[in-house]
C-alpha cells in the first residue's frame, strides 16, 4: 500500500508540478489582479468598468452575435455534411479523402486559413469577381472589415469541429430504427424529425457549444479579417496586455472570457452524455 503510494507520487510529481507552476499559478495571478485596483487595493471596479461602459457592451454584443450566427450556420452546413459522410458515401476511399479534407484545416494555422479568406474576400478577390460577373451584385461588396467577413472566416475555422461531433453521434444511430419507422409508414421527413434528429440532438448541442465557446474566444481570425474595424472581446483583452499595459483590467476581461468558455464547455460535456441508454444498448 505505502509502496504504491510512493509510486504514485513519483509518477505524478512532474506533471503536477508543471501544471501548477505554469498553468494554475499564472491563472491565479490573473484572477487576483482582476480584483485589484491601479493602487493595489481590492476592488470589483475592473468588472464594474466592463459592465458600465457602453463601448464594451457593444464589443460583447458583436462577439456574441458573431458566435451565435457562426454556431447556427455551422449546424446548418455541418449536419448535411456529417449525414453525407456517415450515411450517403459508400465508397470507403472517397470517405477517407473527405475526412482528410475535413481535418486538413485543423492541421493548418488560423493565420494561413484566414489569409486564404483575405485573398478571396478582397475587392478584386474571387468571391467578388464571381458575384459581379454573374450579375448578383452591381459593384464589389466590402467583406474585409465587416462582420460578414469575420463570420465567413469563423464558420470556416469552426465547421470541422461541428461535423466531427455530429458525425460521431450520427454513426451511433442504428439505421434499423429508421428502417422500422419507414416500414411503419412514416415519411422520410417524419422519420428524420422524430427518430434520427432526436437521437443526434445531444451531438448537435455539444458541437454547437464547442463551436460557440471557440467563437467567443477567437482572436486571430477576427483580428485578421476585421482590419481593425470591428472589435471582439479577445481583441479587447489582447490590447490591454500588448498596448495599454493595464494588467488589472486586461485580467478582468480575460477572466470574463474564461468564465463564459468554462460555463459553456461544462454544459456541453453534460449534454454530450448519451441520454437514451435503452436505445444505445443494442
Amino acid at each position: 500500500m505505502s509502496q504504491s503510494r510512493t509510486t504514485i507520487l513519483w509518477l505524478l510529481a512532474f506533471p503536477v508540478c508543471l501544471l501548477t507552476a505554469f498553468f494554475v499559478m499564472p491563472l491565479s495571478v490573473v484572477l487576483i489582479s482582476s480584483f485589484t485596483s491601479g493602487e493595489g487595493q481590492f476592488t470589483f471596479g475592473q468588472y464594474g468598468r466592463i459592465l458600465l461602459d457602453s463601448y464594451h457592451w457593444d464589443v460583447i454584443l458583436v462577439t456574441f452575435r458573431l458566435a451565435v450566427l457562426s454556431t447556427l450556420i455551422c449546424v446548418l452546413l455541418g449536419y448535411p455534411l456529417a449525414w453525407y459522410l456517415v450515411r450517403i458515401v459508400k465508397w470507403r476511399s472517397w470517405r477517407r479523402a473527405c475526412v482528410i479534407l475535413l481535418i486538413l484545416p485543423l492541421f493548418t494555422s488560423n493565420i494561413v486559413r484566414s489569409f486564404g479568406w483575405m485573398i478571396l474576400l478582397g475587392r478584386t478577390g474571387l468571391v467578388n469577381e464571381f458575384l459581379v460577373s454573374f450579375g448578383f451584385v452591381d459593384r464589389p461588396l466590402r467583406f474585409l472589415g465587416t462582420e460578414t467577413g469575420i463570420l465567413i472566416g469563423l464558420v470556416y475555422i469552426l465547421l470541422p469541429f461541428m461535423v466531427l461531433t455530429i458525425g460521431n453521434a450520427l454513426a451511433k444511430v442504428d439505421p434499423a430504427l429508421e428502417q422500422a419507422s419507414r416500414d411503419l409508414g412514416a415519411g422520410s421527413a417524419r422519420t428524420f424529425f422524430s427518430i434520427t434528429f432526436p437521437l443526434t440532438a445531444h451531438g448537435v448541442l455539444a458541437g454547437g457549444i464547442i463551436v460557440f465557446s471557440m467563437a467567443i474566444s477567437a482572436y486571430v481570425t477576427p483580428a485578421l479579417l476585421s482590419g481593425g474595424k470591428v472589435t471582439v472581446l479577445a481583441m479587447l483583452a489582447f490590447q490591454q496586455y500588448s498596448t495599454v499595459f493595464d494588467f488589472n483590467y486586461g485580467g478582468a476581461l480575460s477572466i470574463t472570457l474564461l468564465v463564459f468558455t468554462i460555463a459553456l464547455i461544462g454544459i456541453a460535456s453534460w449534454l454530450a452524455k448519451p441520454r437514451t441508454p435503452e436505445l444505445e444498448g443494442k
Binding site: 491563472l27 448535411p80 456517415v86 494555422s109 488560423n110 485573398i119 478571396l120 474571387l126 454513426a171 496586455y241
Partner: protein
C-alpha cells in the same frame, strides 16, 4: 432529398478546401502582387523564402519549440497516464480534470497570464518562456490519446514480466511501451502540430530575433499581402498534408466510420 444533402455537403467541402487552394495557387503566381487564379507559374517565391534568413530562423525556432514541447509533454503525460489508469487514489477525477483542462482554455487568456506571471519571475521573451506555455497546452493532447491505450489485459502481462524477474523499468520499456506506442505517436503528432501552428500563446513572448513562423506570418499579413507569404503558408499546408497522411498510415483515420 438525398440529392439536396449531397449538394450541400459537396458545396461545404468545397468551402473548406477553397482557401487552401487559393493560398497554394497564389504562391505560384508570376506577378509581384498576389493573384488568384495565378498568372503564369513559377516557384520563384519559394526561392525567395528559402533564401530569407528571418524565415529560416523562425522556421527553425518553431520546429525546435514544437519538438521540445512535445518531448516534455510526453515526459509529463506518460507517467500521469500510468498513474491514472493503473492506480486508485484520492482526487483522481480532479487530477485528470486539471491535467486535461488546458484543452478548453482560450489560449489568449493563458498567453496573457503567462506573460504577467513570467514578468515577475524573469521568464519572459525567451525560449524557455515559449516552451513552458506550449508544453502546458500540448500535454493534454498526449494524455488524451494515451489514456484509452491502457487496457486491463496489459496488467497481467506486466505482472508476468515482473514475476519473471524483469525490473519496473525493463517492464515499462519491453512490455508497456510497445502496447501504447500507436497512441503515443498520434498524441505526439497532434501535440507537435498544435504547438507549430500556435499564435495566441506565442505572440506575447516573441521578439524580432525570437519569432515563430505563425507569429511572423500574423505580423506580416496585417500590413501587406504578397506571394511570398502565400509561399510560406503553402509550405505549412503541405506539411499538414504530410502529417495527416503519416497519422493515417500509422493508426488509420477511422473517424465517422460505421464502427
Amino acid at each position: 432529398m438525398t440529392m439536396v444533402v449531397r449538394l450541400i455537403a459537396l458545396l461545404t467541402l468545397g468551402y473548406l478546401v477553397l482557401p487552401l487552394v487559393v493560398v497554394i495557387g497564389g504562391s505560384l503566381t508570376d506577378t509581384r502582387f498576389l493573384a488568384f487564379p495565378p498568372q503564369g507559374v513559377t516557384l520563384e517565391w519559394y526561392n525567395v523564402i528559402l533564401r530569407d534568413p528571418t524565415y529560416i530562423n523562425s522556421f527553425m525556432i518553431s520546429a525546435l519549440l514544437a519538438a521540445a514541447a512535445t518531448l516534455v509533454a510526453i515526459l509529463a503525460a506518460v507517467p500521469a497516464a500510468i498513474a491514472i489508469s493503473r492506480y486508485d487514489f484520492k482526487g483522481k477525477a480532479m487530477l485528470s480534470a486539471l491535467l486535461l483542462s488546458p484543452l478548453v482554455l482560450p489560449h489568449i487568456v493563458l498567453g496573457a497570464a503567462l506573460l504577467q506571471y513570467g514578468a515577475s519571475i524573469g521568464l519572459i521573451q525567451n525560449f524557455p518562456a515559449l516552451l513552458v506555455g506550449h508544453t502546458v497546452i500540448v500535454t493534454p493532447f498526449v494524455l488524451r490519446t494515451l489514456l484509452p491505450q491502457f487496457s486491463r489485459d496489459q496488467v497481467s502481462l506486466e505482472e508476468a514480466s515482473r514475476d519473471l524477474g524483469a525490473s519496473a523499468w525493463s517492464t515499462f520499456f519491453l512490455v508497456t511501451l510497445p502496447q501504447i506506442r500507436s497512441g503515443l505517436i498520434s498524441g505526439a503528432i497532434f501535440a507537435f502540430i498544435t504547438s507549430f501552428i500556435n499564435v495566441e500563446l506565442s505572440i506575447f513572448n516573441t521578439t524580432a530575433e525570437l519569432n515563430t513562423i505563425p507569429v511572423q506570418l500574423f505580423n506580416y499579413v496585417q500590413y501587406s499581402v504578397d506571394p511570398s507569404i502565400a509561399a510560406v503558408s503553402s509550405i505549412t499546408i503541405l506539411a499538414a498534408v504530410a502529417a495527416i497522411i503519416l497519422i493515417d498510415w500509422l493508426i488509420g483515420l477511422n473517424f465517422l466510420s460505421d464502427q
